[in-house]
Amino acid sequence: MRIMKADRALPEIRRGAPVRISVNGNSAEAYPGETVATALMAMGIRQFRKTRDKGEPRGVYCGMGVCYECLVTVDGVENVRACQTCVRDGMEILTGQVAEQ
């Protein structure tokens, strides 16, 4: 869920015009400035992938590009860090893939 409220601790922002992305084949909306991780979390998706050997679910852990847990497939490229990738119009995102690493 996106945070829509604002107060002195969370100053008001104006999200721009939404862009169209696709997540696992389904059409969705996201806002410029958001990362892929944000777009997925806003849709309630927190399980981004399953591990290679044990098939365990993983998602965002560090949020800043250090842990490599939030890996998704973006526009056909695998093992992309969702928290370090900003959404773009027409972006195709796949989650739940068994990452190669």
Binding site: A9, R14, P32, G33, R46, G63, Q101
Partner: protein, 474 residues
């Protein structure tokens, strides 16, 4: 080949102030940062596309500084990674290999300031890999920067004042905060540091503000408690919490179960020193500081001439200390470039020394009160994943220890810990703690377990990026 007098890696408080100082000294400077905008974590800027104006003091400060930086002649390469650094020929400084859109593949810099900051200390416990368990830093980014709810009902576990900042932001965002757990028992120890706190008014006020937010929302704050397990099917559904003793071992029999969908793990931060280590700067063991601190002189220069390390990457000290260290490093680089003599720089150096001392005292206070105790590794059980990338458990590590592994590197080569995507950033410290936990009785200490060898590329990179990286020497 682009040649500059100074390259600064990292655009957080240390990097920004170094850049501003270098610009003032007239140094031809480039700044390289892996984020979309300067600011690092502490001054993280709202995405440009979000519009919005900063309101709180730190945010206004950050916005002002970033604006100031962007108005100087310092060239900023954002979204850019430094993946390798090599000595330039004929002692002319350093070759930096860069990876980013629209930036040169290699630049040459006479001096280098490493200001690579810090990241949340990963603390393993059963279930910590479940979606819904994330660091305090990730929580702050989600809520403040990205304006997305990371969950509906959260529990915070960890140590240090940052947890209060996160709790407060979550409450403002509408996330239900079930409890905030502080693993240490800072009182009465904290009282002996009262004199140090006297100069830190803005910080005290911040803390009071967070405290009131939590009070109004009736969020319980428990001292000496921590999450010992995260449970759920596919993601977090509940947390098991327990009391901790003074060495941070959980006390059996005190367990309680709390229904939450999100757990924030905020056990302070550790220096992001991989770049300095990769370059071969000399470091010495310091377990309290996350493993290593660089050997530096009073000008922030490392054991490599013309290479300076400033800010949290050299040891956790906070934004104010980072500011001072960044400035000192930049002046040192200016002296090295011949902009002023050491004699001219002496008054500046004297002024900075006092500030450094004050800020280091405060950093020391925080570290004394809120550093995770080595016993925290006892939260992990045999089935707990230690190396997240390679899915290696504590049981796997214990097995190779019985088979003769004695150092962090022995564990690496026998279990593959540290050979995955994060290149050991998130398991190195835990492995050191495990070795001391298992072998400490026979005399093994933290200083003897060693660290991973850091090698280029600084992050995993496609073959084609490496293949195309040689520029023609110009």
């Amino acid at each position: 080949m682009k040649k500059v007098e100074l390259a600064i890696v990292g655009a957080g408080p240390a990097g920004i102030h170094a850049a501003l100082q270098a610009n003032e000294a007239g140094l031809n400077t480039v700044m390289v940062d892996s984020n979309p905008r300067p600011g690092g974590q502490y001054y993280k800027q709202l995405p440009l596309d979000f519009g919005g104006k900063p309101q709180k003091v730190v945010e206004q400060e950050g916005s002002f500084l970033v604006g100031l930086l962007e108005s100087t002649s310092v060239e900023i390469f954002s979204n850019t990674l430094v993946w390798g650094v090599f000595p330039a020929s004929r002692g002319e400084g350093w070759l930096l290999n860069l990876h980013g859109e629209g930036v040169p593949k290699q630049i040459q810099a006479h001096s280098l300031i490493l200001a690579t900051g810090a990241y949340d200390t990963p603390i393993p416990f059963p279930g910590w890999t479940l979606p819904g368990v994330m660091t305090a830093g990730a929580g702050l980014i989600s809520v403040k920067n990205q304006r997305v709810m990371p969950g509906k009902r959260a529990l915070l576990t960890g140590t240090g004042p940052l947890q209060l900042a996160l709790a407060s932001s979550l409450i403002h965002a509408g996330v239900e905060v079930a409890m905030v757990l502080e693993a240490s028992q800072p009182f009465p120890k904290a009282f002996q540091y009262a004199p140090v706190m006297i100069n830190q008014w803005s910080r005290i006020l911040e803390g009071v503000d967070y405290g009131f937010t939590m009070l109004r929302a009736r969020v319980p704050y428990r001292l000496g408690w921590a999450v010992i397990e995260a449970r759920g099917d596919g993601q977090v559904e509940e947390a098991v919490i327990a009391r901790m003793d003074n060495e941070w071992h959980p006390l059996r029999g005190t367990e309680q179960v709390v229904q939450v969908d999100t757990i924030f793990s905020g056990y302070t931060v550790k220096p992001n020193n991989f770049l300095g280590r990769m370059m071969g700067c000399e470091f010495r063991p310091d377990h309290q500081q996350g493993g290593l601190v660089p050997v530096r002189d009073e000008w922030m220069q490392t054991s490599l001439p013309g290479v300076y390390l400033a800010g949290d990457a050299a040891g956790i000290g906070g934004a104010e200390l980072a500011r001072v260290e960044g400035k000192v490093a930049a002046v040192a680089a200016a002296v090295r470039a011949g902009r002023f003599s050491e004699k001219d720089a002496k008054p500046f150096s004297r002024r900075m020394r006092g500030q450094l001392r004050r800020q280091r005292r405060f950093a020391h206070l925080l570290s004394e009160l809120f550093t995770p105790q080595p016993g925290v590794i006892s939260l992990a059980t045999d089935n707990t994943i230690i190396c997240r990338c390679e899915e290696v458990t504590l049981g796997d590590i214990r097995k190779v220890i019985t088979e003769g592994a004695r150092t962090v590197n022995d564990i690496k080569v026998l279990t593959r810990c540290g050979m995955g995507n994060c290149q050991g950033r998130n398991c190195e410290l835990s492995i050191a703690r495990i070795l001391v936990q298992e072998l400490g009785a026979s005399g093994l200490t933290f200083d003897e377990v060693g660290v991973f060898r850091v090698r280029p590329p600084l992050h995993p990179l496609p073959v084609s990026v490496l293949a195309d990286s040689l520029e023609v020497e110009g």
